[in-house]
Amino acid sequence: MSIILEQLLNGLTIGSFYALIALGYSMVYGVMKLINFAHGDLFALGSYLGYTLLVWSAGAVSQRFGLWGGMAAALLFAFFAVGCVGVLMERVAYRPVQKSGRLPLVVSALGVSIFLENLIMAVWGPRYQAYPASVVPTYTISLGWFHITSMQLFILILSFVLMLILYYVVQKTTFGAAIRATALDKEMATMLGIDVGKITLFIFFLGPALGGMAGVMNGMYYRQISFVMGWNYGLKAFTATILGGIGNIPAAMLGGLLLGLVEMFGAAYISSAWKDVFTFLILILILIFRPTGLIGEKVAEKV
């Protein structure tokens, strides 16, 4: 029983990373119909920026603000910095290409991805970096047979709060309605007086910002970070986006959590070497039998 519960917690933790990254994919896809291949690398960039703040300052941040304060500073720093990089990316690499169609946009995104990955390598070096144990809390909370590490609890609470806020903003506010309208039909939204430019700016800030934050959490959780990790997480999170239904924000959250669970239980009860194969098989099967994802809506082409 306690093993299953542990798997569940591990799955939910990884799932919340996926969910936070998936949100960025989904939102960007919504407004630009672009699979932002650079999104995984923004996640990795966030991881490195958080690391830099905590480690290169020689622990000064943690000493001044305490352990939790240091973590909060790292998360916020990554949030804003990566968000700004996202906005910059849209201005420089996507907006000028957008009018030329979907394919050039895909190549531009691949270009940004290669650029970011190699930028990280050039700045921080090709080797693994590690978040030192001194900057993250390491105690375990035990309730009888139930154990949870403080880091896990922190990650779960923070990501659920973030997702709840986002859910509220997107589903319940006028601004959220404008976002959803833009995702459905950009031209019509423009004609109805929605400032699509502002929405795009917001999306390209928030999506990468959440991804960057997930990067810091991931670094604190696993400790080890590498410049190539963006691709792997990006692809998984992207699978999660499809699993839920692309372009739909609650669906991305659901997809992320679900994928985390599938992976954990797949690794535990089927085979850890083949677990990624299962992930991709699920992806393919979903696209064959339910291309709109679990809670996406069907879009018919007008003839």
Binding site: V92, L103, F280, I284, L287, I288
Partner: protein, 602 residues
């Protein structure tokens, strides 16, 4: 024309001379770079078939490359089969693999297909790492692969490998150029430009998409074989997503569907990192930035394909007509006779009949229990306010939608639920409410789409340029030119469809539909966007067609002058049901029709 031809031959000759001389004034390092340039050119060309020609987003192409390399490695190291024999076998295995994995996903469009191919690429790579049945050697791969040899002449030096790959490449290019300018290449391009229009012109979408994947994969398999025999080792980390993205970039950098473009793209991808070797750590950084810049400034690629068709000594319209007419009329007559002799002689007067046709979208009933009869050799019009379900009827009849219930009979034959390309090949051609042309193709190529299902040359005959293939191409071009003249578009043969003004685009769409010599022509609002003069010309044109050809016409129209002027029979629809039918003047005065348009008088 001739002068230009000579000049391009001269340039080609110089390029070949340069390639032949290159290894003799270069060092081994650069000869190896040139070898990999050749391998990537092969890979780029193989992806160009899928992505460039057919427009299928394939971001997992490295999987097919891997299959070729691993088949070569496994069969050579385990059974000692010579490398050269394994070239066709690698191609075959990669092709079969592509057929198996893409069959269930081939219906997916755009981004969805892109994602699935990424998944396939990753699954293949992960499977290779996991060493299934102890065959792939796990993460370390397979070592000790042999060298290719022809009798006693072994390919074992850098220079020999250089010539080996470029000679193979030259043969491949020759084949691809021929394929590109054939019925197959055009069919792929039609799919890329507009899938629905292609399907409605009689192209079997599924078949040609699969063909493109299979041929692309086979060629990638050949590249895998060459790669494995040069390195003598294969390992999974060659066949990553990064590799697939690089191939994607090769095609996009060169220009979609451009053979010289793909080669140029391969050159850039292989030579660029070598030139920037001095700044080792930053070269990929520059490369990423360069990709973005290339897409900003040259989104169409660096060497896009120029579209032109070699027009055989153009004949006058009359001459062409003499050549073409008998074929067209003969075909239709025999089939008409066949159906006459069949048991369904009651359909003799009616080319198209629908029986209680019903179509729903979710809870919305778009068409309900519609009985429609289209007289043979007559013009039948469907009128009705917007949203009456008129276009839905067309889409059901032509197979784009499958009806919820009811039947469609064409020449007495039940065609309910037939795929659009099947419907088209039976002799139904249509135009669309919002013009659907192949925007990036020339006018002649657009019209030739209608001829696709009347032609038969396939991969082998196109690559070998057989006598019958050449004759068929000639026939197709001349027939297309005939319809170009006939619809008043003479002189625009090499113009791209997207450059035509609206009215001419409508005519081109009509020419495409007519070129298939249909028995039933379905027109969706043919006069919309035309001025009065153009509408009148259209009326005369359609009436003349009925006199000249064995043709029946079904049309949707809002222009009452046109409807009342040329229709033999008018059907009025509202809210998915037929509210009246009859001769034009009867419908004109029918109170229910007036009510449907103007509302009830209180």
């Amino acid at each position: 024309m001739n002068k230009r031809h000579k000049r391009s031959q001269l340039i080609l000759g110089m390029v070949i001379a340069l390639f032949l001389a290159f290894p003799f004034f270069s060092n081994f390092y650069w000869i190896d770079v040139a070898f990999f340039f050749g391998v990537y050119a092969l890979l780029g060309l193989s992806l160009n078939i899928v992505l460039g020609e057919t427009g299928l987003f394939d971001l997992g192409h490295a999987a097919f490359y891997a299959i070729g390399a691993y088949i070569t490695a496994i069969l050579n190291t385990l059974y000692g089969i010579p490398i050269v024999w394994l070239i066709p076998l690698s191609a075959l295995c990669a092709g079969i693999f592509a057929y198996i994995v893409t069959s269930p996903i081939i219906h997916l469009r755009g981004d969805y297909l892109c994602i699935v191919t990424i998944g396939i690429g990753e699954i293949v790579r992960l499977a290779l790492i996991n060493n299934p049945f102890g065959l792939t050697g796990g993460p370390n791969g397979i070592t000790g692969i042999g060298r290719p040899s022809f009798g006693l002449f072994a390919i074992d030096t850098s220079i020999r490998f250089y010539f080996y790959v470029w000679i193979i490449l030259a043969i491949v290019i020759l084949g691809l150029v021929r394929l590109q300018r054939s019925r197959i290449g055009r069919a792929w391009n039609y799919l890329r430009e507009d899938e629905i229009a292609a399907e409605m012109s009689g192209i079997d979408v599924r078949h040609f998409k699969l063909l493109s994947f299979v041929l692309g994969a086979a060629l990638a398999g050949v590249a895998g074989n060459i790669y494995a025999s040069k390195l003598m080792i294969v390992s999974p980390d060659t066949f990553t997503f990064m590799e697939s993205s690089m191939l994607f970039c090769i095609v996009m950098l060169g220009g979609l569907g451009s053979i010289p473009g793909s080669i140029l793209g391969a050159g850039i991808i292989t030579v660029f990192p070598e030139i920037f070797r001095v700044v080792a750590n930053y070269r990929m950084l520059f490369f990423g930035g360069a990709l973005v810049l290339a897409m900003i400034f040259r989104p169409g690629g660096l060497w896009p394909r120029k579209r032109e068709i070699a027009i055989p000594n153009v004949r006058s319209a009359e001459e062409a007509e003499e050549m073409i007419r008998p074929v067209a009329v003969d075909q239709t007559r025999t089939t008409a006779k066949q159906s006459l002799n069949g048991e369904t002689s009651s359909f003799e007067k009616h080319i198209l009949v629908t029986d209680k046709l019903t179509m729903k979208f979710g809870g919305l009933v778009a068409v309900k229990d519609l009985d429609l009869v289209v007289g043979h050799g007559k013009i039948t019009s469907i009128i009705g306010p917007n949203g009456a379900g008129k276009t839905t009827v067309f889409n059901v009849v032509t197979g784009i939608y499958k009806p919820v219930s009811g039947k469609v009979y064409f020449e007495g034959k039940d065609i309910t639920g037939f795929k659009p390309h099947k419907v088209a090949s039976l002799g139904i051609a249509r135009t669309f409410q919002n013009i659907r042309l192949f925007p990036g193709l020339t006018c002649v190529e657009n019209i030739m789409a209608g001829l696709h299902h009347r032609m038969s040359s396939y991969v082998f005959s196109s690559i070998m340029r057989t006598e019958s293939q050449i004759l068929e191409e000639k026939w197709a071009i001349e027939t297309a030119m005939y319809w170009l003249d006939k619809t008043g578009l003479a002189g625009l043969s090499d113009e791209l469809a997207k450059n035509l003004p609206y009215g001419k685009q409508k005519l081109l769409e009509l020419a495409r539909a007519l070129s298939s010599s249909p028995k039933l022509l379905i027109l969706d609002e043919p006069s919309s966007g035309l001025n009065d003069k153009e509408t009148e010309d259209l009326m005369i044109f359609l009436e003349n067609l009925l006199d000249e050809m064995d043709l029946s016409i079904l049309l949707i129209e809002h222009d009452m002058n046109l409807v009342m002027g040329i229709s033999h029979w008018v059907v009025a629809m509202d809210m998915g049901i037929k509210i009246a039918e009859g001769r034009p003047q009867d419908i004109y005065n029918n109170s229910r029709v007036i009510e449907a348009y103007l509302g009830r008088e209180e």
